[in-house]
């Protein structure tokens, strides 16, 4: 084995790998069509906005006041009154079948309590199964009821609102889910792509027996790793641009920061992710195990433990610590910072450092796993 790296051999390795990819049309589709499709799909489908919640009303009061309250729900735009009930036993089947999410029960003495300026209880029965939608529905209902109380005339005096909350949302003013998801998605796509594609490249050589051939050539192991890495780095760079453009054009996701910083951090992340993929494939040696491990080690954590969809700070402490070794976490924080906040290295240096460590570790692991085999 030669001690020095040769650009010629490196180039030859990269070309060989590129030919492998190009010949396999599905890999190519995976590399370019899937990221674009994912952005569009996620951007449209992932929405935390809750509207048109189906509700039923059991109005036992049946007065002008109670009908006004129901109208307040209806006109809010958040609820759609799907059923008017006449008795209690209609409630349970509706909730079990999921026909409605919320049942509003207005008791017979509702108007009398209101007239006496007393608390007038009404009951909201919710399908708590989907805790997220349920809590949002509760918040909407509370807000509607509060504003109804404020306008309802109590002893001739409306209930005042003593504190005005001037609430402003920064970076993502309309609270669009797509602005949150698209930058984060870049990290998930990179991770999945590199792990899936690269984890197979070495396992495939083992299974086909071509690894011995590769070992018999004068190629240095670092040349093998880097050579296999280069074509995927190119694909990754194109994907970064693709996601940013689709996000901007289709979903009007703002891009406020520096494109150069995005590229640099993206490349660091890719090197790490691919190093990890190769490490997995070099240690698994079978395509079945390699795919399984790649799925477990990269795909699911990148989706679920990275803050892409679920907030890390709401997770239990143990998982927050585990998430520190999920590289996608750093890249997602960086992309959101660059896209939405428009901040640079002065804020994101921690994330950049994390990804540099990841890149070196990935590369080191890949080279190390290789050493044992090709002597």
């Amino acid at each position: 084995m030669t001690a020095r790296l040769s650009a010629g051999r490196l180039w030859a390795m990269a070309r060989k790998e590129w030919l492998h990819i190009r010949r396999d049309s599905r890999s190519l589709a995976m590399a370019f069509a899937v990221p674009a499709a994912m952005v569009v799909l996620f951007g449209y489908v992932i929405t935390f906005d809750v509207r048109d919640i189906r509700m039923a009303v059991l109005d036992q009061s049946n007065t002008t006041q109670s009908r006004d309250l129901v109208d307040a729900f209806r006109s809010s735009g958040y609820f759609r009154v799907a059923r008017q009930l006449t008795s209690d036993d209609q409630i349970s089947p509706l909730l079990v079948r999921g026909t409605v999410r919320l049942v509003l029960v207005i008791p017979p003495d509702f108007a009398r309590h209101l007239a006496a300026a007393e608390p007038a209880p009404v009951q909201a029965l919710l399908d708590g199964g989907d805790a997220n939608t349920a809590s949002i529905a509760i918040n909407y209902a509370q807000a509607i009821v509060t504003s109804y109380s404020a306008t309802a005339v109590l002893k001739g005096v409306p209930l005042p609102v003593p504190i005005a909350v001037d609430s402003r949302v920064w970076y993502n003013e309309d609270l669009k889910s797509s602005s949150m998801i698209v930058p984060g998605l870049m990290a998930a796509i990179m991770m999945i792509l590199s792990a899936l594609l690269t984890s197979l490249t070495i396992a495939r050589e083992w299974e086909r027996g071509t690894m011995e051939q590769l070992a018999a050539t004068p190629v240095h192991r670092l040349e093998v790793i880097l050579g296999k890495l280069l074509p995927y780095l190119g694909i990754g760079a194109v994907d970064i641009v693709l996601v940013a453009v689709v996000g901007g054009v289709v979903f009007a996701v703002p891009f406020r920061g520096s494109p150069a910083l995005l590229m640099v951090t993206g490349m660091l992340f890719l090197v790490g992710a691919q190093g990890l993929g190769m490490f997995i494939s070099a240690s698994a040696k079978s395509q079945f195990l390699a795919t399984q491990l790649a799925m477990i080690v990269t795909f699911l954590p990148a989706m679920l433990l990275s803050g892409l969809m679920f907030d890390i700070s709401s997770m239990p402490k143990v998982l927050q610590v585990i998430s520190l070794v999920v590289p996608a976490r750093y890249f997602i924080a960086a992309t959101r910072g660059i896209f939405l906040k428009g901040v640079g290295l002065e804020v994101l240096w921690g994330q950049a450092l994390g990804m540099l460590v990841f890149a070196l570790a990935g590369l080191g692991l890949a080279v190390h796993a290789f050493r044992k085999e090709i002597v």
């Binding site: 589709a29 995976m30 799909l41 449209y44 489908v45 992932i46 935390f48 906005d49 809750v50 079990v96 209101l114 300026a117 608390p119 009404v122 708590g128 199964g129 805790a131 939608t133 809590s135 949002i136 509760i138 918040n139 509370q142 009821v145 509060t146 109804y148 109380s149 404020a150 309802a152 109590l154 002893k155 005096v157 003593p162 504190i163 909350v165 001037d166 609430s167 402003r168 920064w170 970076y171 609270l175 669009k176 949150m180 899936l196 197979l200 395509q287 079945f288 195990l289 795919t291 399984q292 491990l293 477990i296 679920l304 679920f310 907030d311 700070s313 709401s314 997770m315 959101r336 901040v343």
Partner: protein, 387 residues
């Protein structure tokens, strides 16, 4: 012995061969049985949409008992925690930029004075919108808490309320008092809802992976031709290949159901029979899709990518992360093609609502029809591609 045109002797031989091939590698064994448990535990904890302990930076320019009480009211519910105190206005923007806080609260000078005088006090709330779901929930919680605080501390409200408002529980204020009761999940923990969803996705992943790879591996090694020239009929080949997968998937289901109920204390209110039956129909769907993928793939890599292209949208459309009813209408119709959607719906109803077949028969019927149809189509294609 022949059943339905399948020779049982040959079938048993094939199943034995499959099992031996799968279990020969102890690492594969670990992946098949340990990985789902591990994933369920980790993701069961990760998949939470609750807002807890959100970091808040407070700039209190009033420095009165009332302003401190307002901050206390915000932190008391466990939704917010005070991460830091700002000394100047720039600190707020800085904390949001660095992500040290996602909520910034500014209480202006004169807050207490306005409140006591019965005037309109005001506070400013800045929220980091980059994680829009957390921001939405945090904004709603904070506004509610501040509003209620104001009503309890305003002399005007106390006046209006008079004496009639005492002793009724609730807010004790006049006006409509909304009392909320959440069924099936009284504490509104998102985990109770999401863990059954994780179960569904793990089952699909397992069924797909095992079926696809069982076939494609043989094709890649060239041993599929050997199987074809053996006296096995195509029907026997397919049944023999998929039967072990059904077995493994059912064992996995039992394992993860045990973990979900014992570890996460997710209530299983329905019957095991309903769960088993629904799962069987679902597993057959997964098998069929896996088989279909293997007929269009000649290498493991191809198979894996194709599987991924199916699995990812299937997962998103299933309503596992995001309720189907919140999607744009066009996509809602698209979800009707997704078997995972029916299973997710059914499994949640079985676990949380104790629903039986009387309620779930449409889902089970669709799954069975889909599974049967896909399997039939895949078997036909399989026949052609291998013959």
């Amino acid at each position: 012995v022949t059943v339905l045109g399948l020779d049982l002797g040959r079938l048993v031989q094939l199943v034995r061969k499959e099992a031996r091939q799968t279990f020969r590698d102890p690492r594969a064994l670990r992946v098949i049985f340990m990985a789902p448990i591990l994933q369920l535990v980790i993701f069961g904890y990760a998949v939470t949409t609750d807002v807890k302990d959100a970091a808040m930076i407070v700039y209190d320019r009033d420095h009165t008992t009332e302003s401190r009480e307002l901050v206390q009211a915000l932190t008391a519910g466990g939704y917010f925690r005070v991460a830091s105190l700002a000394a100047k206005a720039e600190d707020l923007a800085d904390a949001l930029d660095h992500g040290r806080a996602i909520v910034a609260l500014e209480i202006p000078r004169g807050f207490q004075g306005h409140l006591a005088a019965g005037g309109r006090a005001s506070v400013q709330l800045l929220i980091d919108g980059t994680t829009s779901n957390t921001a939405t929930v945090a904004q709603a919680y904070a506004s509610q808490i501040i509003l209620r605080f104001g009503q309890q501390h305003s002399p005007l409200v106390a006046q209006t309320a008079g004496t009639g408002a005492q002793g009724h529980g609730g807010t004790g204020l006049p006006g409509v008092d909304l009392r909320v009761r959440a069924w099936y999940n009284p504490n509104l923990e998102s985990r109770v809802y999401n863990v059954p969803g994780v179960v569904c996705n793990l089952m699909m992943l397992m069924a797909l992976l095992l079926t696809t790879l069982a076939v494609v591996r043989e094709r890649e090694l060239g041993t599929l031709e050997q199987l074809m020239v053996s006296p096995l009929t195509p029907g026997e080949l397919i049944v023999g290949k998929t039967l072990p997968v059904v077995g493994i998937a059912l064992v996995d289901l039992a394992l993860i159901t045990t973990v979900a109920t014992l570890w996460f204390a997710i209530p299983l209110r329905g019957t095991l029979a309903t769960l088993g039956l629904t799962s069987l129909a679902y597993i057959v769907c997964g098998l069929g899709i896996g088989l279909l993928i293997s007929t269009v793939s000649s290498t493991t890599q191809e198979a894996f990518m194709t599987m991924f292209m199916f699995f990812l949208p299937a997962m998103i459309f299933s309503g596992f992360f995001f309720p189907v009813e919140n999607m744009p209408v066009f996509f809602q119709y698209l979800t009707l093609l997704d078997p995972v959607r029916y299973y997710v719906e059914a499994v949640r109803a079985i676990f949380l609502k104790g629903a039986g077949l009387a309620v779930l028969w449409p889902d089970v019927l669709v799954l069975t029809l889909m599974g049967g149809g896909i399997l039939w189509f895949a078997a036909r294609r399989f026949h052609k591609t291998t013959a």
